[in-house]
């Protein structure tokens, strides 16, 4: 185990002594994020300058509180500069606005949306949760991404409130002190409270309250920073994967295999090195953007878990690439292509909902997509429970890729003639 860490730390030291690697791993994502900050006017004192008055068509067919709450969010003072909502009554009108490029996105709140979440007066919920439709305008990818981010934040808040209410009711019912009738009445009360909370406090991501109680405003950089960090994370793991082949070529891997060190220790050390590099890179980028750009990445424990999970999944890809290709040059070349493709598919450049559904599905094989989902959810006020899905997906991705890489490597042997 000791040798495993020694190999990993040696690799970490080597990558941080390579100026070219540092530029691509740390400087590039910082600079791009910084550039986005300037474009969006993030550093001119006005959080929404640069991008402003994003036209959005909201069709509210829901007669409940949540539909009203969502409309209220887009009408709020905090978003007054950023978005310019219109409220057509029919989806066809919203579609027409999209086609005429008069809206960057359309949000259709279907009938019964509130009732699918909040119990009605009889205490019943109408079947499965009805989904809100978000239709992005492909001609305005950045604006659509921002609108989607706002909508996601609203939905996260609703989801957190709903789960909270369900758990509380369930716990009280288990004590036996709560009759089904009383539970139904309480459900109605919770539901009403939830709707009121949504409407009154503009819960959503715009009003993500910090521990000190101060309100944090919606930050455009929170959409770009994780995207860039995750995209360049793929560079770090590609570099790590490449180092395995490079060591074979330069003779240090064969030399390692001639020491009393097992293949498993060497491979484990190399993989751990890739993982530590990825964790370090993400931590520096997240820490750096927090300090320099004053970004609030959300709940610290959630951020740490996401860093570990995203680094784990990305390291899996790095290890897999090292087994897939034969030369360091191949890994470097294809790694750059994979980094860009994953960036595109995973939503680092623009909102994935703009792409055909099968492409979005394909994007799910990337750590970028799941990582981005997790980080934006956290930044939007999400809690640990709301990032369970991306955490699980990233962990599974890593396990599958590491298993595949190990099997392949075992079959082929570490050293090559």
């Amino acid at each position: 185990m000791r040798k495993l860490f020694i190999i990993a730390l040696k690799d970490l030291k080597l990558i941080f002594r390579d100026p070219a690697a540092l530029i691509l791993m740390l400087l590039a994502p910082f600079l791009i994020t910084l550039g986005m900050g300037f474009i969006t006017g993030r550093f001119s004192g006005n959080t929404n300058a640069g991008i402003s008055s994003i036209p959005v068509a909201i069709v509210n067919q829901d007669e409940g509180e949540l539909g009203q709450a969502l409309k209220a969010v887009f009408r709020s003072e905090e978003l007054a500069d950023l978005v310019a909502p219109t409220f057509p009554t029919r989806p066809e009108e919203a579609t027409r606005l999209l086609e005429a490029d008069e809206a960057s996105a359309a949000i259709i709140i279907p009938p019964g949306f509130s009732n699918s979440i909040i119990p009605d007066e009889g205490g019943s919920i109408s079947g499965d949760i009805i989904q809100i439709d978000f239709i992005a305008n492909p001609n305005a990818p950045t604006n659509a991404g921002i609108l989607r981010s706002i909508l996601n934040s609203f939905l996260t808040q609703v989801e957190v409130g709903r789960i909270g209410a369900e758990v509380t009711l369930s716990q009280v019912a288990q004590t036996g002190k709560l009759t089904p009738e009383l539970a139904a009445q309480l459900g109605e009360v919770f539901g009403t409270q939830l709707a009121q909370q949504s409407a009154q406090t503009r819960p959503i991501q715009l009003k993500n309250t910090t521990a000190s109680g101060a309100a944090v405003k919606f930050d455009l950089l929170m959409y770009f920073a994780p995207g860039m960090a995750l995209m360049f994370l793929m560079f770090a793991v590609t570099y790590g994967g490449r180092s395995l082949l490079l060591e074979n070529r330069t003779g240090t891997l064969p030399r390692l295999l001639q020491t009393p060190t097992s293949s498993a220790q060497i491979l484990g050390g190399k993989v751990l090195g890739i993982f530590l590099t990825a964790v370090t890179q993400l931590s520096i980028l997240i820490g750096g953007t927090s300090l320099l750009f004053r970004l609030d990445w959300g709940q610290p424990l959630g951020v740490v878990l996401l860093i570990l999970a995203a680094a784990f999944a990305a390291s899996g890809w790095g290890s897999f690439m090292a087994t897939l290709f034969k030369t360091p040059a191949q890994v470097a070349n294809f790694g750059s292509i994979i980094m860009l493709v994953f960036g595109l598919l995973g939503g680092s450049f623009f909102d994935m909902s703009l792409l055909p559904e099968w492409v979005s599905m394909l994007g799910k094989i990337t750590p970028n997509a799941w990582g981005l989902q997790g980080f934006t959810t956290l930044a939007g006020g999400g809690t640990l429970s709301s990032i369970g899905e991306p955490l699980l997906a990233l962990a599974l991705m890593g396990i599958i890729l590491f298993a595949a890489a190990s099997i392949w490597m075992k079959r082929r042997g570490l050293a090559r003639k």
Binding site: I6, K10, K13, R17, G251, T252, P254, R255, L257
Partner: protein, 343 residues
């Protein structure tokens, strides 16, 4: 049965531990510490090593001499457990490379032909890393690093990154790493390739010094002079086959009637016209030029002096000096293969 197996394993381990520290070269009966038996290594359809067998005795310098691509590095790679043999086996201190590769790795040190170093780490960091890979740690490691740095003469530059070193300095670190854990058996695979004469001299001297301290050395080279200077015994390898094996006396006895006449010409002269002319002379088995030195392999060097001078005059090339050399390993190789070592 299991108990017997366990006891046998324990006995082997104790023997291994007992043998670990190196000691002064003794006059005791030499025992083979490396035995290679019918070793074959194939890469797909290509057979790099074709069933070679030899043994290396404790305290000796054994050289594998052969041209590039003869199978020297592959042989060392298999014996050092880097690649499994396709058939046959080798054992170090009784440990089979097939059955006990980790035990074999613990007994040997390897100085690879290529510079297997981390260029972005300092010499100190490299030695520290590789020392830990050999299982050293703490004070034992730092003491040993200090000794090795002293031995390779890089104490003052230990904190410089390897990429700032000259080729010779890198070679010295490459060798130093192989010595860190004081192996009893050291494999040195063409350690002087691509370095200046001064560094080469220093390396050859250090090989002799290590051997005098009791280290057994398996040395591979394609330089006849190195094998001749260093070796107690030499194995000549060509196309994956061991074609001759023995002490230098034993080997050169095979070509007793072969002399080498060496002609020295001016550095700015093109030797090729003279080489071609000499090749056509009666009694010349082979003529080769290296830089401004032309070697003639012949049955009688004395008889060839006059014809050689005439040939030089005819081609307009001036001979500055000439000497006659005794039969050597180059002649042995030529005798056995019909080719020069550098072909």
């Amino acid at each position: 049965m299991l108990l017997l197996h366990f006891l046998f394993g324990l006995l082997k381990s104790l023997t291994f531990l007992y043998n670990l520290p190196i000691h002064q070269k003794s006059e005791e009966i030499m025992a083979p510490i490396l035995e290679v038996r019918d070793l074959v290594k194939k890469y797909g359809d290509f057979t790099a090593v074709k069933g070679i067998s030899f043994s290396v005795e404790e305290g000796e310098i054994f050289s594998l001499l052969g041209p590039n691509g003869a199978g020297k590095t592959t042989t060392i790679s298999v014996i050092s457990t880097l690649f499994a043999p396709s058939s046959g086996d080798a054992s170090v201190y009784g440990f089979s490379v097939l059955k006990d590769p980790m035990a074999v790795k613990g007994c040997i040190g390897v100085v690879p032909q290529e510079l297997a170093l981390y260029e972005d780490l300092t010499a100190l960091e490299n030695l520290n890393f590789w020392g830990q890979m050999y299982g050293l740690s703490g004070k034992a490691l730092s003491d040993r690093i200090a000794e090795v740095l002293d031995q390779i003469g890089l104490k003052d530059k230990a904190k410089q990154r390897i990429k700032t070193y000259s080729g010779g300095m890198k070679r010295r670190v490459n060798i130093g790493i192989g010595l860190l854990h004081k192996p009893k058996l050291l494999f040195m695979d063409e350690p002087t390739v691509g370095i200046d004469p001064q560094s080469r001299r220093a390396i050859l001297d250090s090989v002799k010094e290590l051997n005098q301290q009791g280290m057994t050395i398996l040395y591979t080279t394609h330089y006849m002079e190195e094998a001749q200077e260093l070796s107690d015994r030499v194995g000549i390898i060509d196309h994956g086959e061991l074609i001759a094996l023995g002490t230098q006396e034993e080997l050169t006895r095979q070509v007793d009637e072969t002399d080498t006449l060496v002609l020295h010409i001016a550095e700015n002269e093109d030797p090729q016209p003279l080489v071609e002319r000499l090749q056509s002379l009666d009694g010349v088995r082979r003529a080769d030029a290296i830089d401004h030195e032309i070697s003639l392999i012949t049955h009688s060097a004395q008889e060839l002096i006059a014809p050689a001078i005439r040939a030089a005059e005819e081609t307009g090339i001036k001979i500055y000096s000439m000497d006659i050399r005794e039969p050597n390993l180059e002649a042995v190789f030529l005798h056995l293969t019909g080719r020069a070592l550098r072909d």
